[in-house]
Symmetry: C2
Subunit: 464 residues, 2 copies
């Protein structure tokens, strides 16, 4: 029973075919942001449902909930008392532009130097396909799955996962699981398995300031009326202290600071300031005093201005006092921060700072909470052990600075932790030309996933 | 000799023909900003040179100095010892868009309710044509001009007067005159003759801040690197005190404050705060404490942000830390301020405030000084007396908040004062659909100009 050796042997003897199948999947240009690619997105979903049926998920089906189809499939372990694992992936990909920068066509996958090149090879087709191949290896090699499995593959991740998130909330009762598994992130470096245990939340807002009801001549009125561009600058500048701390009342009140133990661990394994600056192409760091750049960009909240537009900013000059100014800002939240409360804090700040010369309209376009898994959680222990088996090395545990809305939704709607196992490398060129996926990480990912399924069967993960 | 009565009688008996001629001039769509209209601009210049030749300027000619032709003509008074008056106008017009908002086609001038409707009717064809008709009235009605006259009509005012300004500087020696006369502004109100005695200067600059060498993911790096959009907000906000005063070191050091006498005069005749707010469509004033809104927007310098652009400001949100931010700003300067010194002050401020996270590039696109004429200057006395004769009423003397580069150039290159006699009304819709010109102001303008020519002959205006 639960013959992990058989599953591993099956996986190893079928590697060549697995790569061919992945190539066929990458060949489908399932670009979700391009309406003209909708037939390809649909075709990709059908390809995956067919494939799942062939590898042992006879009930694989397409769920239509508004956006691109969600591919859903379940298969139970032989023993009823096993936990349920939700395997997530997304089959949509980023656009391939600029096409000219690709060394080989983005949707004609080829293997070069041990890596499969093609749009989506690592984000996310190659990464989630490793888990499908692990499932196949258990079913075909060992004749059973160690845990109950629910596969959910969406086609809308690159444009926000809205359909899937609403669908999960709506079907929270029938989707009950014990943990989620997803690979849609990067490893710390070659050969270094990596588990992410925290994602930041995101509050995205737009502020519009309106002064006069039309653009005014800056000669005629300059000096006598407040300029919305200037007022916006003043408002945005007021949101940070010169030190780099966010200056919005109550902003840090509920922020949970990492434990001393975690901070020591981060100091040891996480990217140092110099490494982060190099990755950013920056020469000088910035931000909240008392924390490393890694901590500032993962374990601490941040407020960034994503864009400002007001008046005329083209060639030459235009003598105008603009009638309005728009700014986009986003707050990355951490555990302890309620996104809705952050929204209220920002709105209160705008009201407090706003001069009577201006009217403000503040809208919220996104409010997703942070999600964290205790690194001592049983599923994390299983994941660490699986990494050791699959990669021959203890994984590093890292926080993610970004937001993965579906992880937050799984956490808030289903109450389950996500195992975030990065299989791509930082220089695999996700979202860029010449995206690729190292086959070594594909194979090690399959082995790790096989082990994970096995180890989860032993763990107490709460009721299913 | 100098039979002003004969000139006035000639003008009055030819009014109908003058309106027909002005209509023919307005009919030519001389839109300088539209390259496709270049033939019309050329045709307009030729029409004017022909017209000048017919009314007594046989040497009227087109000067080609790079841009649209400059129409130039001279005619001397009989007596050699008379001063020289430079009559300026611009024959180019604003585009007519949105065409659909016009009650009658913009280039098919018609008279309705005592006003001539058409693009350019008031800005500036109708206004400068009044002076040409005054010249004609002297030559044809009285047989001579009271002063030497130099006519300069440009076709590039609506796009910056660059050609003319360079040409004036280059030919400063041959253009020597005692005063300039121009009508390209508005009156205080119906029946109220208005002389402008001051224009503000303008320094237009662009500031570009560059942080990282590319846009960054705001989840990955938010909190660890400085955001150029935020840095720009902080920089721009630092340029004003909360009170509304400009916070740039030395900015006010050389500013000449109007005399108590002038301030009393302004309090009496200039627009009050409420009137300026209504014109601006604003509810609350703003700016330097201790001055009225009129003073702040004419007699005091002002710094306005004309535009800001950074990152993404379209629909939805984009998780980006922009790599750069651009802002356009303009300073309206007053007498006592050297534009080049203001440029240096702004640059020094940027250097002082700039954080080490950012690189700044500051470029200057315009630096034109303010120009003021003492209201007690002999030519201003003549102009006031002429207004009383032409309009039956003492003119108000007002400062202009805007900049008229050619006035500043005439002042700085030729050292001469400009008589700025507004003949358009504030609601004549200059630059807007349904532009028109009240014929009453056309006729009163001609009479005023006839009187002005006569009165200038008597004045000591310095050497020619």
């Amino acid at each position: 029973m639960l013959d992990v050796g058989a599953a591993l042997r099956y996986a190893r003897s079928n590697r060549a075919r697995f790569v061919e199948e992945l190539s066929a999947l990458v060949r489908i240009p399932s670009v979700s942001s391009d309406p003209g690619s909708a037939p390809h997105v649909e075709r990709c979903a059908r390809w995956l449902a067919d494939h799942l049926r062939r590898i042992g998920f006879p009930n694989a089906r397409l769920v239509r909930a508004g956006g691109p189809p969600i591919v859903v499939a379940e298969r139970r372990a032989k023993a009823d008392d096993r936990p349920t694992l939700l395997v997530y992936g997304h089959y949509d990909v980023q656009p391939a532009d600029p096409i000219g920068a690709w060394q080989s066509p983005p949707f004609e996958p080829v293997v070069r130097n041990g890596a499969l090149y093609g749009r989506g090879a690592s984000d996310d087709k190659g990464q989630f396909f490793a888990h499908l191949k692990a499932l196949e290896s258990w079913i075909a090699g060992a004749g059973e799955l160690p845990v109950h499995v629910r596969v959910i593959l969406e086609g809308e991740e690159e444009v926000g996962s809205n359909t899937l998130r609403a669908w999960i909330v709506k079907h929270r009762d029938t989707l009950r699981s014990n943990a989620a598994l997803l690979s849609d992130m990067v490893m710390r470096g070659p050969g270094q398995p990596t588990l992410n245990y925290a994602v930041r939340g995101q509050v995205a807002m737009e502020i519009e300031l309106a002064g006069q009801d039309r653009d005014l001549h800056s000669g005629q009125f300059g000096g006598a009326v407040h300029d919305p561009a200037q007022a916006m600058a003043e408002l945005l500048a007021s949101m940070h202290e010169p030190s780099g701390r966010v200056a919005i009342d109550g902003f840090y009140d509920t922020v949970r600071t990492p434990s001393r133990r975690e901070r020591r661990y981060m100091t040891r394994v996480a990217p140092r300031d110099a490494e982060i600056l190099t990755a950013a192409g920056a020469t000088v760091g910035w931000g909240e005093p008392g924390f490393t750049l890694y901590e500032r960009s993962t374990a601490r909240p941040a407020l960034t201005i994503n864009g400002i537009a007001s008046g005329y900013a083209g060639a030459g000059s235009k003598a105008v006092i603009p009638s309005r100014a728009v700014a986009k800002l986003s707050v990355r939240t951490v555990e302890g921060q309620d996104p809705q409360r952050v929204v209220q804090q920002v709105k209160r700040h705008v009201r407090r700072v706003l001069r009577p010369t201006m009217r403000a309209r503040v809208t919220t376009t996104m409010a997703v909470p942070a999600a964290t898994v205790e690194t001592s959680h049983p599923v994390m222990r299983a994941a660490r052990a699986a990494c050791v088996r699959g990669f021959g090395r203890e994984p590093v545990m890292l926080r993610l600075g970004g937001t993965i809305p579906v992880v937050s939704t799984l956490r808030s709607a289903l109450g389950i932790p996500a195992i975030m196992l990065g299989l791509a490398l930082p220089d695999d060129r996700l979202h860029a030309p010449n995206e690729h996926f190292e086959l070594e990480n594909f194979f090690r990912g399959i082995d790790t996933s096989i082990w994970l399924l096995r180890l989860l069967a032993n763990r107490a993960m709460g009721t299913s």
